[in-house]
């Protein structure tokens, strides 16, 4: 493991979650030692990056001490994330620890309960280093909508890290945390992952509990992992996934096991996939993604032999920048070399997906955010009557983008416009799902660029909301259809900025999705080495 030198802590490069957990469990290092080193690194780097809204050293060290005690007590097997440094997007509730959602309206609020996903990660031994920055209420694609401060991209400090999970992506890319929990409503995990050169998974809607995730658009929101490699993302996903009685939209484990999509043709590791599915008596598919990745990687140079991969026409060509398009083409060549059959496929409804999303998401948001009324928690601006109090509280507490979306949603749902806007958008949503279903009749997975461009400069798009919305062009269809999608970094453009590629799978197809992503990752050999961080001097 990396050590401190005379100049202070080096960036703890190359440490995967798996390596940390195994070193902690074998006694080679301790969770406390790993935690201290990461806290020092955050102290050193975060003035430049601005990933954290709050660091929680006491909570982290208490948790790490408990992990070390559990390991000493012979409980290492129950701790797949033993000592793994975790950053938590500030949209996830943490009992007694401030949770702001990047908004002044929740400044200082201490939730009375912890989100299920956070609780499960901590239960597996992860160490919470703090709460990370985000666009206010997860609305945005650059983290510039945070009410507190911007976050900078570790690859180029003049550029945005993407959003809304920009703090999660930057903290992982800058080696401040090994993994992070983010949330994705229209691309908020995958787009910042692509901008920061890391891996981000948006799971199937309902695969991870939303209990304790502050709601933005309830039918689209999903909690997911972000990490520097596919295996670490899979490990965190394996830990946090699964049915939760506290979230009525979380999918029962039995259904998850029964509805696993199977590869169209036999793959070199199909047998291992079948064994993993059978070897789960409670239908829980325990640790199935990490196990599938090992099996797939063991297949070697023709690991994707038989895989049918569809390239989405609507999300390539003129829709994306030339550098991104070229990186996608190189990735397709890699997939072909590994044995995959790559073909283009058209999903015509995608042309309308962005428009539908920017009616549906604001409509749900306008309803969800009605709860911030100055009565039960958060900010209150005093006034003589209750309506004045609410209007002033919301005017002061919400930032411009949140107000814009609340107004947009209120309009789309208002009498006389409901059918024309919201009603039609819901029908377009059906068309997007049908297009996916048709494509998945022929293809195991679909592939596209994750973002139309690489990371843009701070301030470049803040005054043009529509231009900002276009950042989500490629990621939105997966949210509308509820399917899982992962972004993996594959290359850098001529300016040294990372480029991500997105893989999409049918509902509940995370096992196949992540195993294939790991094979591609191993073949493209992308290294997370953001220069601004690597050069960080004493």
């Amino acid at each position: 493991m990396a050590t401190s030198d005379a100049h202070g802590p080096n960036p703890p490069v190359g440490e995967s979650a798996t390596a940390i957990a195994s070193a902690v469990c074998s006694g080679e290092t301790s969770a406390v030692e790993v935690t201290k080193r990461h806290l020092e690194w955050i102290e050193r780097t975060d003035e430049s990056i601005g990933a954290f809204l709050l660091t929680t050293p006491e909570w982290a060290l208490e948790t790490a001490e408990a992990v070390d005690r559990a390991v000493a007590g012979g409980k290492a097997n129950d701790l797949p994330l033993a000592g793994v440094p975790l950053s938590i997007k500030d949209v996830l509730c943490t009992e007694g620890i401030p949770t702001t959602c990047g908004s002044r309206i929740l400044e200082g609020w201490r939730p009375p309960y912890t989100a299920t996903a956070v609780g499960r990660a901590l239960g597996a031994g992860a160490v919470p280093l703090g709460k990370v920055n985000m666009d206010e209420f997860a609305m945005g694609s650059s983290t510039e909508n945070s009410a507190f401060h911007p976050t900078r991209n570790p690859w180029d400090l003049e550029r945005v890290p993407g959003g809304s999970s920009g703090g999660s992506a930057a903290s992982v890319a800058a080696f401040q945390a090994t993994v992070s929990l983010g949330s994705d409503t229209g691309g908020s995990i995958r787009q910042p992952a692509a901008f920061c050169g890391i891996v981000g998974l948006k799971p199937t809607y309902g695969a991870v509990s939303r209990y304790g995730l502050v709601a933005f658009a309830s039918s689209l929101d999903q909690v997911g992992p972000m990490a520097r490699c596919v295996r670490d993302a899979a490990l965190l996903f394996d830990v946090v996934r699964g049915h939760d009685p506290a979230d009525s939209t979380s999918i029962p484990d039995r259904i998850v096991a029964d509805k696993q999509p199977r590869p169209k043709r036999s793959l070199p590791w199909s047998k291992a996939l079948a064994e993993i599915a059978e070897d789960s008596p409670e239908g829980s598919l325990k640790m199935s993604c990490t196990r599938a990745i090992e099996a797939a990687l063991a297949a070697g140079s023709r690991s994707l032999e038989g895989l049918r991969l569809g390239v989405v026409s609507e999300l390539s060509g003129e829709a994306v920048d030339a550098s991104v398009s070229a990186a996608l083409r190189r990735t397709l060549d890699v997939a072909t070399e590994l044995g995959a059959a790559v073909e283009e496929v058209s999903l015509p409804s995608f042309e309308y997906a962005l428009s539908a999303y920017y009616l549906i998401a604001p409509a749900e948001a306008s309803s969800n955010l009605a709860r911030y009324d100055g009565v039960r928690y958060g900010l209150r601006v005093p006034a003589d009557t209750v309506f004045e109090m609410m209007e002033r509280t919301r005017a002061k507490g919400f930032g411009p983008e949140v107000k814009r979306r609340i107004m947009l949603g209120t309009y789309a749902l208002s009498s006389g416009y409901y059918e024309a806007y919201y009603g039609t958008a819901l029908k377009v949503r059906t068309l997007v799902s049908s297009d996916f279903s048709r494509a998945f009749d022929h293809f195991d997975l679909l592939i596209s660029a994750t973002t139309p461009t690489t990371a843009f400069k701070l301030g470049e798009k803040v005054s043009d909301p529509l231009a900002m919305y276009l950042s989500d062009l490629c990621t939105i269809p997966a949210n509308l259809a509820g399917i899982p999608a992962v972004s993996i970094p594959v290359d850098c453009d001529s300016q040294g900025l990372p480029i991500g590629v997105q893989l999409m799978a049918p509902v509940l197809g995370e096992v196949l999705l992540l195993a294939v992503a790991a094979c591609l990752e191993a073949a493209v050999e992308f290294a997370v080495r953001p220069p601004a961080v690597m050069d960080f001097g004493p």
């Binding site: 609020w109 201490r110 009375p112 199937t204 809607y205 309902g206 039918s219 009685p245 009525s248 939209t249 999918i251 259904i255 309308y352 962005l354 428009s355 539908a356 920017y358 009616l359 009324d373 009565v375 039960r376 928690y377 958060g378 900010l379 209150r380 006034a383 009557t385 209750v386 309506f387 004045e388 109090m389 609410m390 919301r394 919400f398 107000k403 814009r404 609340i406 107004m407 947009l408 209120t410 309009y411 208002s414 806007y421 009603g423 039609t424 958008a425 819901l426 029908k427 377009v428 949503r429 059906t430 068309l431 799902s433 909301p465 529509l466 919305y469 949210n479 509820g482 399917i483 509902v507």
Partner: protein, 96 residues
């Protein structure tokens, strides 16, 4: 389509947002642009398409109806801007 300042004021009232005149003017322009883009959904024939409000269809998931403890009044009221006698306190809701 262009939203009028009156329409913006009406939406803001429905959404309980007190806007300055300057904000109303900016939102009138921006919301009009966004709605123009969103109106693209009307270009495609959806007359025979059912709406989807939930992406993954689930049969009703039932659980046993067993009483259990929720959060206590102290936890619930602990973060309120103003509370009194186990109740949230608000300014008057009717005209004097």
């Amino acid at each position: 389509m262009a939203l009028t300042p009156d329409q913006v004021a009406h939406i803001a009232r429905l959404a309980r947002l007190a806007l300055t005149e300057e904000e109303s003017a900016v939102y009138a322009t921006q919301l009009s642009q966004i709605l123009d883009h969103a109106a693209k959904v009307k270009e495609i024939d959806t007359s025979k398409v059912p709406p989807t409000s939930h992406p993954v269809r689930l049969a009703n998931v039932m659980r046993k109806d067993e009483p259990r403890l929720g959060l206590g009044p102290k936890d619930v009221l602990g973060e309120a801007p103003e509370a009194e006698d186990a109740m949230f306190k608000v300014p008057r809701i009717m005209d004097a």
